[in-house]
């Protein structure tokens, strides 16, 4: 795990939490959209909070896909759940809202679970594949031909 990979995982967490809360905030401003009047969705998208939320969720999706390209699904998913922890901490220390003991317990459980995973390897090794062989910059020509075959 390089620093850059931890940065991508942090992006997964932050973009998910931020996008989710901005979308939710924007949707509360635009009001209810009933299933019978779906044209309300168009007005909702014009709300800046909703638009920023959608952009952040796109960023989340990009980072999530990137993380899945070099890590196991069971390694990446707990990182997305850290978003819940982040939201609760923001609610407590930035918005000064009350966080119930049960929610603190939830935070502790998620943090513990993520700690368990982070201690292990990020990718199951299948067969005899060299993990970082194609990353060497000197062998660009051969790397391309080898990469196209895989």
């Amino acid at each position: 795990m390089t620093f850059r990979k931890y940065l991508v995982l942090a992006g997964v967490t932050v973009f998910a939490a931020a996008g989710d809360s901005m979308l939710s905030h924007g949707m509360k401003q635009t009001g209810n959209i009933s299933l019978n009047h779906l044209q309300g969705v168009i007005f909702a998208v014009l709300n800046p909070w909703v638009a920023i939320g959608i952009l952040l969720l796109l960023a989340f999706f990009a980072t999530y896909m990137t993380a899945l390209s070099w890590a196991d699904l069971t390694y990446v998913l707990p990182a997305t759940s850290l978003g819940y922890v982040l939201l609760a901490l923001v609610a407590r220390f930035v918005l000064h809202e009350h966080v119930s003991p049960l929610r603190w317990l939830g935070i502790a459980l998620i943090t513990g679970g993520v700690g368990f995973i982070a201690g292990g390897p990020e990718l199951t090794k299948h067969g005899q594949r060299e993990p970082d062989a194609v990353e060497a910059p000197q062998v660009i020509g051969t790397a391309v031909s080898r990469g196209a075959g895989s």
Binding site: S21, S69, I110, A143
Partner: protein, 177 residues
């Protein structure tokens, strides 16, 4: 069936527009609990026959869990086929990364499954309460993903990861409500 699939694939790959639509569909499906919660608050207020609606709600929750587990597994498999995005980007550029991802059939089916999960979420929220649907769906998805990753992706889900999946599922159940 095979011919149908190949025709479907040709249709999807012929025109970039459906791909863009599909990409739009995944936005909320993945993380839209908070936003969607607001959409159907009105619908959950009926509550005439409690037992029937509870049955409906749990069927819809199971549908959400099933669809999002299928989606996650397909997306994970697609990205393993694409390969390390960072390395590929440095080698061949961003365009190749995006093209290879969007052209991957597993990715397209994964996105479709995510869209199905999103609409199941809408149905679940129209029958049941947010405080039941969101935590139940989120935490069951974690457990289901651990099982599916072991079976279908052959990931080494050892005791460490089982414990972690259980802890995270419990924590999400407490926090998402």
């Amino acid at each position: 069936m095979k011919r149908f699939l190949s025709r479907l694939r040709r249709f999807i790959t012929a025109d970039p527009f459906p791909r863009a639509c599909a990409l739009g569909c995944i936005l909320s499906p993945l993380r839209g609990y908070g936003a969607v919660a607001n959409i159907s608050q009105q619908h959950s207020a009926s509550g005439s026959s409690l037992h029937v609606s509870l049955l409906y709600t749990w069927s819809a929750i199971l549908a959400i869990v099933f669809a999002s587990v299928v989606g996650d597994v397909l997306l994970a498999r697609a990205m393993k086929q694409v390969g390390d995005v960072g390395a590929l980007w440095r080698r061949a550029g961003l365009g190749v990364v995006i093209g290879r991802t969007l052209g991957n059939p597993n990715f397209l089916f994964g996105v479709t499954a995510m869209a199905v999960a999103f609409f199941s979420l809408l149905f679940a929220l129209s029958w049941g309460d947010v405080s039941l649907v969101a935590p139940a769906a989120a935490s069951l998805t974690f457990i289901g993903n651990a099982v599916a990753a072991k079976i279908f992706l052959h990931e080494k889900v050892d005791r460490r990861r089982w414990i972690a999946a259980g802890l995270v599922a419990a924590g999400v159940a407490l926090l998402a409500g």
